[in-house]
Amino acid sequence: MNDPIARLILQKDDKEYIGHLFGAPVSSSGEVVFNTSMTGYTESLTDPSYKGQLLVYTYPIIGNYGIPNIGKNISDFSESENIHINGLIISDYSHHPYHWNMRYSLSYWLKKNGVPGIYGIDTRALTKKIREEGTMLGKIIINHDIPFYDPNQENLASKVCINEKTIYGHGKYKVLLVDLGVKNNILRCLLNRNCQIIRVPWSSDFSKEDDYDGILLSNGPGNPKTYHKVIKHVEYALKDNRPIFGICLGNQLIGLAAGVNTFKLKYGHRGYNQPVLLEGTSKAYITSQNHGYVLDVQILPPNWKILFQNINDGSCEGLIHENKPFFSVQFHPEASGGPIDTEFLFDWFIECMHSSNKLYR
């Protein structure tokens, strides 16, 4: 415990949490959210959907297998090139990590990316606080105080998505991938299924693109209502008949474009153990989730149905159109990290593109 003292301050809590610093020695603020997964910190830290958040792990020991080599290659063991969280809050940091695939220690990697971490925090008490009072703003203070920062006030996609159109692969199915902060494993899942990916920045007017077989709206950070531009483009795409598949933020944007509202969950779903049920069946799946907002499906627009429902709290986990090949899910079928039980949804998407190719061409 020779590491310097670090403090964690919450907006809605008088208590100051004292811990020790690891990672970069800089103060940082953001929205405090908790994740219940027991493994997969590399994947979560590089997941663009966590942009602007201070991530709390309920599982106490973090860092035990280090960090693998992370480069620009999408086949690497990460979800993007960078760390997207603003800070990491854990109970017990593993100072002596080991794994055959390890390149750096977690602390070194955080330092390299300018992100602070704090360990020695009672994360169980902190999580209980968030569960009772809802997600709140917080800051990790190392030497000087800084103001609170609310990431949900701004559009975060521009900070995490690519700058210009990029093409991947030479497969049979051309997928127009709208990058709102896409995770690498979505690309891998498509490339493994004979796809060519046309990845465009979130703000691009994809209604101007025409050479594609289907649209995939990716995951991404923040409040879906800050994405007016994309919602407009999706409204346009919904008039067409080509398949559309939405994941996480993509699901919310399809919902908003179809006329469904969204609201913020008290403390979100973040973890690898969220159960969902395929509507009208007895098929249940364990899914990987990371979202704070959800679709309000009390009244559904005509022709839209619920595709999946959360077994724990009954919230909407996905939509499907009754007669067009449009569907979307709130969870992460690409997982990484988390269970890959719903990866078959990518096969559905391919199947949609396959049959609509036959129908419309």
Partner: protein, 406 residues
Amino acid sequence: MKKILVIGSGALKIGEAGEFDYSGTQALKAIKEEGIETILVNPNIATVQTSEGIADKIYFLPIYPKFIKKVIEKEKPSGLLLSFGGQTALNCGVKLFEKGVLKKHVLKVLGTPIESIIASEDRDIFRDKLNTMNIKTARGIVVHSLEEAFSASEEIGFPIIIRTSYALGGLSSGFAHDKKELATLIDIALSHSSQILIEESLKGWKEIEYEVMCDRYGNCITVCNLENFDPIGIHTGDSIVVAPSQTLPNSEYQKLRTFSLSIARAFGIIGECNVQFALSPNSEDYRLIEINARLSRSSALASKATGYPIAFIAAKLALGYGLHELKNYVTQTTSAFFEPSLDYVVCKFPRWDLKKFSRSSTQIDSSMKSVGEVMSIGGSFEEAFQKGLRMLDIGLEGFINPKKKR
């Protein structure tokens, strides 16, 4: 379903202890809750499941096909639960099936079908099934001479492990790292047995287990995974076991988890099963070691470590419920179809009593020697580890140097 026969835990002995009393008791409670009459066969009066109010009727008879058959003839139950009494109960059920007793009395085995149990126990069927699923198992070749042993060793690659058939206590088995060592071992082995098994050595590989629950709709979850502190080669019962796994990143964890689920589905498990893997410490290479199509020592540990009532839910699944239809008995509001996320670490320590067995070796190996165990929970691995060592009650203060002055 009006009357169900449960085969109980039997005698407590090394390798088969209190965990089967626990699982049987849970199962009996789960069936009783449904208003179904329960019959228990268990010769051991010193168990919880034979206490008053747990089962409706108890037969204090040995777990032998002969006696179970008589109980079936007398009671005429319509359902039979085999997977709650350990390996003895399972073997007994398989024998009754093979003798045609179950068919004769139109007795339905609830939960995992008996054909699946046989498939999981029979080495050949097991290996064939996994080969068709492209899941790797440890490679092994049966040889009868030195020449055959050499060609087998070339195919498998050193190091290899040599086992003789029908030899007790690992007699004349051992590791060979080159042809010279192999020749010596084969020489000795051939003097004991004409059949020798040459298997690839997984010495030093990590031993990882998953506890899987499956319902009749094919919905599956893993309640928990366990990592053995001692690598492959040491029996799980003699090993320090940690839950959840400590050294696996997401890709390895999910890869093995996905295999576990597809194996459970392929074998038609309804209820609980335990899947054991060897995982290379230097790559993502793995081998499936075995599956247990029943409640096991590990499932009892997983149950206590996570709070998920595995045996209770397994009994409900055997009665035909789906996992998503059952409640999480901890929260009472959420579903039993979930995977517990721990915010603590669990360690299990074996407790030996080898002084009582004067001539036994104090070396631990692939057959179990411990007579009991201690489970500890902590907010860090160190905490759980130290707690466990202290609670073994053998005078240890923990993992410390006793000579060092404080």
